[in-house]
């Protein structure tokens, strides 16, 4: 059984466009520090941008938690996006969005999912939405 360790590096409040830029910069710094390639950095920062934007646009405010994870001898960058917004009415449908909705009114979830290794989402009107992404080194 692999040992799993987590170390939270940063908690970022997301309320505006500018906060999303800050999230991008922090994710990039951490990804670089962890030795991810430029392509992998670009992927995870872009995914973070999509998910951060969802918070600003749909929930008005939320948080991003940047976490270093270790599983056995693997190292990963985990980001948890959490908000107490209205929730996603049909998560299944949101995960099946077609390409045409990327960049429009869709949530861009399938796109963000494709950019990372692990992806999990939970959403309800009561609890809000939590999206967890991990990029392994």
């Amino acid at each position: 059984m692999d040992n799993e360790k987590e170390q939270q590096v940063k908690e970022i409040s997301i309320k505006s466009d500018e906060d999303v830029i800050f999230v991008r910069q922090e994710v990039r710094n951490l990804a670089k520090q962890m030795g991810l390639s430029l392509l992998e950095q670009t992927r995870i920062v872009t995914a973070a941008s999509e998910l951060g934007r969802n918070i600003v646009v749909h929930a008005r405010e939320g948080k991003a938690f940047l976490i270093k994870v270790e599983k056995g001898d693997r190292q990963g960058l985990k980001i948890v996006f959490r908000d107490k917004g209205p929730g996603i009415p049909d998560v299944q449908k949101a995960l099946e969005e077609g390409f045409s909705t990327v960049g429009s009114l869709g949530l861009g979830l399938p796109g963000a999912r494709r950019l990372v290794d692990d992806f999990a989402i939970e959403s309800s009107p009561l609890e809000g939405t939590t999206v967890i992404i991990i990029k392994w080194r």
């Binding site: 466009d17 992927r43 941008s49 960049g103 494709r114």
Partner: protein, 127 residues
């Protein structure tokens, strides 16, 4: 807030994006570009993204929209200098930016721009 410069070079507008743009700043830039087209009657627009490390779905869509809007004003647009990491990520994100001409660098972009303008004149003359 750092501003993006909009340069004039002959009949063309050149916009080198060298700062990280948040959504509102990107929208403001789009407006500024269209205003410049209106003011100058420029026939060409080059958007240089060689210094841009992240293009997400919002910026991707905005760039496509800007080119379409410019075209409605009689201006051809070429996007130049997209980094390969950005290209790979945009495709994986599922973004298909339609009607946006691209070139590897400014020099190639200017050549493409000239041929697009010639093509456009032919179209309009019903050739």
């Amino acid at each position: 807030m750092a501003e993006v410069s909009i340069l004039m070079m002959g009949e063309n507008i050149i916009v080198p994006i060298q700062v990280e743009l948040h959504d509102r700043a990107a929208m403001a830039l789009q407006e500024d570009i269209l205003l410049k087209i209106e003011e100058t009657g420029a026939s060409g627009l080059i958007i240089d993204v060689s210094a841009v490390s992240i293009v997400d779905s919002f910026l991707g869509r905005l760039l496509g929209d800007t080119a379409r809007m410019a075209r409605l004003m009689g201006t051809e647009t070429v996007l130049v200098g997209m980094k390969k990491e950005v290209v790979i990520t945009l495709i994986e994100l599922g973004m298909i930016i339609k009607d946006l001409h691209t070139a590897l660098n400014l020099e190639e972009g200017l050549k493409l721009l000239e041929s697009l303008k010639i093509e456009r004149v032919r179209e309009e003359n019903g050739a």
